[in-house]
Assembly symmetry: C2
Homo-oligomer: 489 residues x 2
C-alpha cells in the first residue's frame, strides 16, 4: 500500500514544565517600549493598569526559563502534548526527496495554538484577583481562546470584535458567547476611542487596531478589568514556546533534525512558539564565539550545497534555517520598516520597536484574518534584523492551493493562516526535488480550518484573488510613524 | 484551585488490533434482511452490487472478533487512540457525587467518530478493485468522513447530499469537495429515483431516505461503483467498536467501572461503537446461565440502592446499565415499532427488522441532523427488545442547555448529536445528587460542534424550540410498513 502519515506522540510526562525565554540569548538588548503619550521609555508600573505584575515581570525577565504553574499544566494536559507528524503522503504527492514534518496545534478545544497563552494569562490574572479580562479579536481565534480560558478560571471576559467580522462571521462570535464572554462589535459607543471613530464614520467596519484601543481603554478605566493580548508581546511568545519545546523532543523521537523550521507569522505568537526553542542552540553557540561574533552573519552558514549528499557535512553540527511566512497582502517583515510604532490605531497602546507597515495601514481583506496586523513582535523583528531568521511572503491563491493538497493527502483541513507555512514548506520541498537534494523540513500547523469553510468555498468557486498593496500605499502608511527621537521616518 | 478535567491516554500499542463482533453473543439470532422487491430473505450475493465481498462477509460473520488490517490501523493512528476524560469540572458544576467520564472522538480530522468505519470501508473497497464509492449525507458528517477516507486510499467519491442541507449548510459541502468528492444535491436528475421525486415535486427539499435511494441506484447500475453506508449495518457498528474497546482500557487506567454507559443514537453507529464492548461481559455471563436465562430480565439486575455506599455490593461483579439517547423529535427507540421496514424512502434498500417510525416518516428539523433517521441498527433493536439496553428520548432545548454547560466547564464545544448523551448523563448525575448516591457514568462524546455554530446561534437568540410529533402522525407513518409475512402492521 501507499505511504502513510506517521505520528510521533510524547508521553504526558514529556509535557514541558518550563517555558523558554529567548530574551537573555538575544544578540543585543531589546529597545525599550515607549509610553504612547510621552514617547519616553515605559516603566514597569506604567503597565500596571493593563497587566498583573506577574505578567509584567515575564515581559521584562531575563531568566533563561520560566516555570509553568501546576494549574496551567493541568489545563494544558487536556490536549497537550500535541502530535507531530511526518507528512509522508504530502511528500509523495510532491514527489520530493525532502522529509516533511508538521507540529499540529489544532487539537486544542478551540482548534488553534492560541490557548497556550490564553490559559496562562487567565491563570495569572485570576491569582492576582482580577475579575475580568478585556481583549480584541478579528475573526475570533484569539477571542474564543481567551473566552474558553476565562471560563476555565472563572473570570469574566469582554471581547471587542472587529465589526465587519462580527457581522459577517457570526460563528466564532457564538462560540465566545457560549463560553460566557460579552462580545461587542468595535468601534462601539462603549468607549471614548470607539465613539471618536464612530463620530467620523458611523458605519466604520472597524479594525484590529481600533478594537485594541477600546479594550485597552476599558482596562485602564475599570479597576477590576485587565487587558489581554494574544500575540506580539514577550510574555505571549514565552507561553507559546511549549510548541517548539515539544517539537524538539518529537524530532528526536523521529531521529531527524530539521534543516528548515517554518511557521506562519502575523503578530508572531505561533512563529515564536515553534521557532524560539530551535533558535536557542543557534544563539548560544553564537555567543560562545564572543559578543561581537558577526551579528549580520547568517548562523546557518553552511552553503546549501554542503547540506546534502556529502557525508562529511553530517558530522558538522548543523543549525536549521528558520523562516517566518507572511501574506504578500500584509508584508510586515518583507516590506515593513524596523522602527518605533504604535501597537494600535488610536495611539493608546505602547510604542514598540518592530517591523511595521505603519499603524494606520489597513491590510487587504485576505482570508487569513490572524495574519492581518501592521506590526510584529519586537523579538521576531530583532532576530530578522540580525539575520538570525528569514522571512518570506506568499500569495493567497498559492496558499489555498497548498491547503487543498494538504487536506487531500494528510486528511487535516488547515486554517488559512497555517496554510501559509504549508505553502512555504511545499516550495522548499519542490526546490529540493529540483536540486535532487535531501532536506528535513519542519513546519507549524497552528490550527484547523473547520471555522474557515466559507473562505474555502470562495476559493473553490474561483472568487478569491491575489492582492498586493501598491508601493505608494505602503510608503504613505510608513510616513505616519510616531516622531521618536533618533527615528528617521 | 478548582477541580480539573483529567485525561486518560492510551499508548499507541494499546490501539485495538481487532474489532469486537457482538453477533455471536446475541441472545437470539438476528432476523434476516429481506430483498426489497421480493421480501424474501436476502442472499449474500444479492448484496454484491452494493458492497465488496469482504464487507458482506463482515455483515454476516459470527466470528467473535475481526482483525483490523494494518493499512486501516495506520490511518487510525493519525488520531487514535482517542482521549477519555474525567469531567471533574462538569461534576462540580452539577454538584453531583457521581463520577462522570467521557470518551472523545472529536479529535479525528473531520471532528467525529465517522472515520472509524469510513477508513475501513474505503480500504476494503480499494483492495477489491473498486473505483468509486457512492453514499448519501444529511448535514455532511458522514459525507465528509467518507470523502476524507476515499482521499486517503485514492478512491473517487460521489455524495448525494440532502438538498436542504446542500443549500443551507454549505460548509461541509465545501469540505467534501476539498477532499475531492463529487457532491450532488438530492433529489437529482442523475438517477431514476431522483427524477421520480422531482417529477412529483420539482422543489423537493430531499431527505436522507431519498438520498440513500439515489446512492444505491448508482452503485447498482455502475460496475465500478460500490455503495457505502455510515451507520445501521452490522459491519459499520463492528468497525466502530474501537471506541468502546479503547474506553474499557481507559476506565481500567482510571481505576473505575461504569454503572452507566450512555451514548446518543441515530442509526446507531456511535452508540454501538461505545456500548457493544461493555455489553460483551453482560451477554457472555448471561449465556453461562443457559440459553433460556430470562431473555426479558434486566442483566444489570442489582437494585439501585445496592449500588452505592454498601461495601459488599462492590464485591459483586456489577454490570453497567447501557442507555441509548435519542431526540424526542425522532423517537425511533422509545416510540417506534419493532418491525420489518425499508432502510430508504423509495424502497431500493434492503428491508430490515428494526425499531422504526416508518420509512415515510419525516422527522422535525432538529439541529442534530445525524440523529434524524426513521430506523436504527437491527443489532441495537434486538438488544432493546430483549431488555439488554435502555432507551431515553430528550428534548432539544435541554440538549443545548447541557451542551452550553459542558463547553463552559470542560472547554470542548460538543456536536448537538453528542450533546444528547451529555443531557442524559447530566440527568443521571442530578438524580444521583438527589438520592445522595455515588455513581460512575461514562458517556460518548462523538464529535465537536465547530461546524454547528449556526445552531448554537439560534439557541442563544431563543429561536430554537422543542418539538414532538403528534401521536396521530406517528401512527400514520407506522401504518405504511411493508407487508412482510407474519408482520402485523
Amino acid at each position: 500500500m501507499e505511504e502513510r502519515t506517521v505520528k510521533f506522540v510524547l508521553k504526558e510526562v514529556d509535557l514541558p514544565t518550563a517555558w523558554y525565554n529567548i530574551v537573555p540569548d538575544l544578540p543585543v538588548q531589546l529597545d525599550p517600549p515607549l509610553h504612547p503619550k510621552t514617547l519616553e521609555p515605559l516603566k514597569p508600573e506604567d503597565l500596571e493598569p493593563l497587566f498583573p505584575m506577574s505578567l509584567i515581570e515575564q515581559e521584562v525577565t531575563t531568566a533563561p526559563t520560566v516555570d509553568i504553574p501546576g494549574p496551567v499544566l493541568d489545563v494544558y494536559r487536556m490536549w497537550r502534548p500535541t502530535p507531530l507528524y511526518r507528512a509522508r503522503r504530502l511528500e509523495a504527492a510532491l514527489g520530493t526527496p525532502a522529509r516533511i514534518y508538521y507540529k499540529y496545534e489544532g487539537v486544542s478545544p478551540v482548534g488553534s495554538h492560541k490557548p497556550n497563552t490564553a490559559i496562562a494569562q487567565a491563570y495569572y490574572n485570576k491569582i492576582a484577583g482580577v475579575r475580568r479580562l478585556s481583549t480584541e479579536t478579528g475573526a475570533g481565534q484569539w477571542g474564543s481562546a481567551l473566552s474558553m480560558a476565562c471560563a476555565q478560571f472563572g473570570l469574566d471576559c469582554l471581547v471587542y470584535m472587529v465589526r465587519v467580522s462580527y457581522d459577517l462571521k457570526p460563528h466564532r462570535r457564538s462560540l465566545m458567547r457560549l463560553y460566557g464572554a460579552d462580545v461587542i462589535p468595535s468601534p462601539s459607543p462603549t468607549t471614548e476611542a470607539g465613539r471618536a471613530v464612530l463620530e467620523k464614520d458611523p458605519s466604520s467596519p472597524g479594525s484590529l487596531g481600533i478594537a485594541i484601543s477600546e479594550a485597552v481603554e476599558v482596562a485602564v478605566k475599570d479597576h477590576g478589568t485587565k487587558y489581554s493580548l494574544g500575540s506580539v508581546l514577550n510574555h505571549v511568545l514565552l507561553h507559546q514556546t511549549v510548541i517548539g519545546l515539544e517539537a524538539m523532543k518529537q524530532m528526536e523521537m523521529a531521529g531527524d533534525t530539521p534543516d528548515y523550521v517554518v511557521a506562519c507569522c502575523g503578530g508572531g505568537s505561533n512563529f515564536g512558539g515553534l521557532a524560539f526553542p530551535f533558535l536557542r542552540d543557534i544563539l548560544t553557540s553564537r555567543s560562545q564565539d564572543g559578543p561581537e561574533g558577526g551579528l549580520s552573519e547568517r548562523p546557518h552558514g553552511l552553503p546549501e550545497t554542503n547540506r546534502a549528499g556529502n557525508p562529511e557535512s553530517h558530522q558538522v553540527r548543523r543549525h536549521p534555517t528558520i523562516i517566518a511566512v507572511e501574506p504578500a497582502a500584509c508584508p510586515t517583515l518583507t516590506k515593513g520598516k524596523y522602527a518605533y510604532d504604535f501597537g494600535d490605531t488610536v495611539g493608546l497602546a505602547p510604542v514598540i520597536k518592530m517591523h511595521t507597515l505603519g499603524h494606520r495601514f489597513i491590510p487587504a481583506s485576505i482570508h487569513a484574518g490572524g495574519l492581518r496586523y501592521h506590526g510584529v513582535s519586537p523579538l521576531i523583528s530583532i532576530l530578522l534584523e540580525h539575520g538570525l531568521i528569514e522571512a518570506r511572503a506568499v500569495k493567497q491563491l498559492g496558499v489555498f492551493e497548498a491547503a487543498t493538497l494538504f487536506a487531500k493527502t494528510e486528511g487535516i483541513l488547515p486554517a488559512p493562516e497555517s496554510a501559509h507555512a504549508i505553502r512555504a514548506a511545499a516550495d522548499l520541498a519542490l526546490e529540493a526535488k529540483e536540486k535532487g537534494e535531501e532536506r528535513c523540513i519542519l513546519f507549524g500547523l497552528s490550527g484547523h480550518g473547520h471555522f474557515d469553510l466559507a473562505s474555502y468555498e470562495l476559493y473553490q468557486s474561483s472568487r478569491l484573488q491575489d492582492y498586493a498593496h501598491p508601493e505608494a500605499e505602503l510608503e504613505r502608511a510608513l510616513s505616519e510613524l510616531p516622531k521618536v527621537q533618533g527615528q528617521m521616518s
